[in-house]
């Protein structure tokens, strides 16, 4: 953890925030969602809506990283864009919807520069940034077999721009730009991920934190060795669906009523070798 450690003599002039991250952050420790509240998290506070399920998903995702000290986060435009500068990891914003193209270049750069060291590149985007504007770079990164994990925060609309229907909005829902109700059903993006070559595909809801943790970890581990991975985190937007935080939470839970987890044989064998060893 030399990267994290301040040079001797400079500890006390660092911002308090940073001192706390050094003393009590998750770097180099095996912490998880069960430890939330006992350590300094990679994000704290946020300027998003009260009761936001997307923010909760983001928090759980960061708490589930298997190796935060070597994790690089590529995000793009979205509500989470305002949390982005507060992540205590190297993170970058790609032009809207291009996160998987950016991560393709970044992953290759990491393999060129650090052939002996595992750097976990992950992408985080909304449903629009993966399934609409980002459909081409996302699926092409999977066709190419780019080894990194992609996480879709699926709030079923464009929330940051004011509540427009997205490709992942269910049919019939009335939102901005769908004044007569959305005319086609939710894009079967989870199925697309499987067809496009992902070695591990799962859907989780932030209402089940331990499940989120397991799926995030599996996605990142499989992406290290086997191939691209994709996790959809169902977190319906309270504000634009005009739900109370409690209702939105309940709805996110309903959306993922059963465990939805797919993996290729190679991914299963790899995970068994890891989980069996543990």
């Amino acid at each position: 953890m030399d990267v994290i450690k301040p040079a001797p003599g400079f500890e006390d002039i660092l911002p308090l925030e940073y001192q706390e991250l050094v003393a009590d952050g998750p770097y180099g420790r095996s912490l998880g969602v069960k430890d939330l509240g006992t350590f300094k998290e990679l994000i704290e506070d946020h300027p998003l809506c009260a009761g936001c399920n997307l923010t909760l998903s983001f928090r759980l995702l960061l708490a589930s990283l298997p190796k935060p000290e070597d994790t690089l986060i590529v995000t793009t435009a979205g509500c989470f864009g305002v949390i982005h500068p507060q992540i205590a990891l190297h993170a970058s914003i790609a032009p809207f919807g291009t996160q998987n193209a950016f991560a393709s270049g970044l992953t290759r750069a990491m393999r060129i520069r650090f052939p002996e060291k595992q750097k976990d590149v992950i992408t985080i985007g909304g449903d629009g940034s993966f399934a609409d504007i980002g459909m081409a770079p996302t699926t092409h990164s999977w066709f190419r077999g780019e080894k990194f994990a992609s996480f879709m925060l699926d709030n079923e609309c464009y929330a940051n721009t004011g509540g427009q229907a997205s490709g992942m909005t269910p049919e019939g829902v009335v939102l901005n730009m769908a004044p007569k109700g959305k005319s086609f059903d939710k894009i079967p993006f989870v199925e697309i991920a499987k067809l496009a070559g992902c070695a591990y595909v799962a859907t989780a809801s932030p209402t089940k934190p331990r499940q989120v943790e397991s799926m995030v970890r599996r996605a990142i581990l499989v992406a290290r060795e086997v191939g691209p991975t994709f996790v959809r985190l169902a977190c319906v937007c309270a504000t634009n669906y005009k739900l109370t935080p409690i209702e939105a939470h309940r709805k996110s839970k309903e959306l993922v009523s059963q465990t939805d987890e797919y993996m290729t044989e190679a991914a299963r064998e790899y995970l068994e070798s890891l989980e069996g060893a543990a």
Binding site: A88, S92, F102, S104, G105, A109, K119
Partner: protein
């Protein structure tokens, strides 16, 4: 997934100065696309990502061959130009040396990514092989693309011939990667006229390469979790709506253009200046860039043979625009002609906005949509201006 992290055959590391000025040169007969690939070979490039488009495709193929031979470390054909340019951005953010290339409609498609490169302070080099864009659709030579690139914050070189394409691409890496510069360089070649013209090109030995890029000298840390992570985006603070964010963003933008300005001394050192001036005291001056400069050069020689007092200014560097040099070169001329390979005359506007008494400037001749510019066309305009036909 292709094999990456290939061991590259041992080659001698030399400085850009040595490669450009001191190394022995061998004559080859190459088209522009081949010349730029020869530069990529010697520039110790880590990563090339490209999408094919006429008239750029040959360099995309040749870079693939370099990768297959282990002379660059990773390569792939992307899904389209926007995502190629974003992938290039991701790799450069991760601290490796990147080359890419595109042309015309590809440039237009990729513009969102290209406009991000300078703000991300990425020292990548992109070859633009200029052709018409959709005004209407045209695959013929045209330099209109430069007009779209002018305000991106990129450094822009405009090559005259395949030799320039080689030399300026090598210089581009050395200049872009200066810690005080660290912005991307566009090496612009007019499509077909340069990309597909076969000419004698003098090349330094293939066994010599530039040193590998060292991201430790970057003014913005590479994205690799090898430096301290702080709760702050590594890129400009575009996100928040408060005055501190506006101020950070504003000064960041200013810093991109200041970095361009600081590139001037390196341009002077490695490229012999931003302009080439012949007969600066002449009554008539031809000011041009790119392959229009090649035509103007011939027109000047013919005009002088005919007894006209004609000089020549080739503008090699479009950004940072060599304002002082151009003003100085234009001081004495009575007539200034600016031949261009585009309809809109962006170079004439650039020059007019800087020099005194700009009624001296004739913004032409201009040809476009694939037409050629015979030196006679330029001669005719000169004769009209001085009112004397020979």
């Amino acid at each position: 997934m292709p094999d990456i992290g290939v061991e590259i055959p041992a080659r001698t590391v030399v400085t850009a100065e040595h490669m450009l000025f001191d190394a022995p040169r061998e004559q080859r007969y190459l088209i522009g696309n081949e010349a730029v690939a020869e530069a990529v070979k010697r520039a110790n490039v880590d990563f090339v990502v490209v999408y094919p488009i006429t008239p750029q495709s040959e360099v995309s193929h040749l870079c693939g061959d370099l990768w297959a031979r282990g002379l660059i470390r990773d390569y792939y054909r992307g899904e389209d130009e926007l995502h190629v340019m974003v992938s290039a951005m991701g790799a450069a953010t991760g601290g490796v040396r990147v080359f890419t290339a595109t042309s015309g409609p590809g440039t237009m498609r990729a513009m969102e990514a290209i406009s991000c490169w300078p703000g991300y302070r990425l020292p990548l080099v992109c070859a633009f092989m200029g052709r018409g864009v959709g005004t209407p659709a045209n695959i013929q030579p045209d330099s209109v693309e430069i007009a779209y690139l002018l305000e991106t914050g990129m450094i822009i070189f405009h090559v005259e011939n395949p030799q320039d394409f080689f030399d300026m691409t090598i210089a581009a890496y050395a200049i872009a990667e200066q810690p005080e510069v660290h912005v991307p360089v566009a090496v612009f070649a007019d499509g077909f006229f340069v990309t597909h013209s076969r000419e004698v090109v003098e090349l330094p030995p293939e066994s010599e390469v530039l040193a590998r890029y060292d991201p430790a000298v970057a003014p913005v840390p590479a994205m690799d979790m090898e430096t301290v992570p702080v709760r702050m985006a590594r890129d400009c603070l575009v996100i928040k709506s408060n005055f501190i964010s506006y101020n950070a963003n504003a000064s960041w933008q200013q810093e991109v253009w200041a970095a361009q300005h600081r590139a001037r001394k390196h341009i002077n050192r490695l490229m012999g200046g931003s302009v080439e001036v012949l007969h600066p005291d002449a009554e008539i001056l031809l000011v041009a860039s790119g392959s229009a400069a090649a035509q103007a050069r011939v027109a000047m020689q013919e005009a002088r043979r005919q007894g006209l007092d004609v000089g020549f200014v080739k503008i090699k560097v479009i950004r940072p625009f060599p304002e002082r040099e151009v003003v100085e070169a234009c001081k004495k001329a009575k007539h200034i002609l600016i031949p261009e390979f585009n309809m809109n005359g962006w170079l004439a506007r650039e020059v007019k906005s800087r020099v005194d008494n700009n009624s001296r400037i004739f913004a032409g001749p201009r040809v476009f949509a694939g037409m050629t510019m015979p030196p006679e066309l330029i001669l005719d305009e000169m004769h009209k201006l001085v009112g004397a036909r020979t």
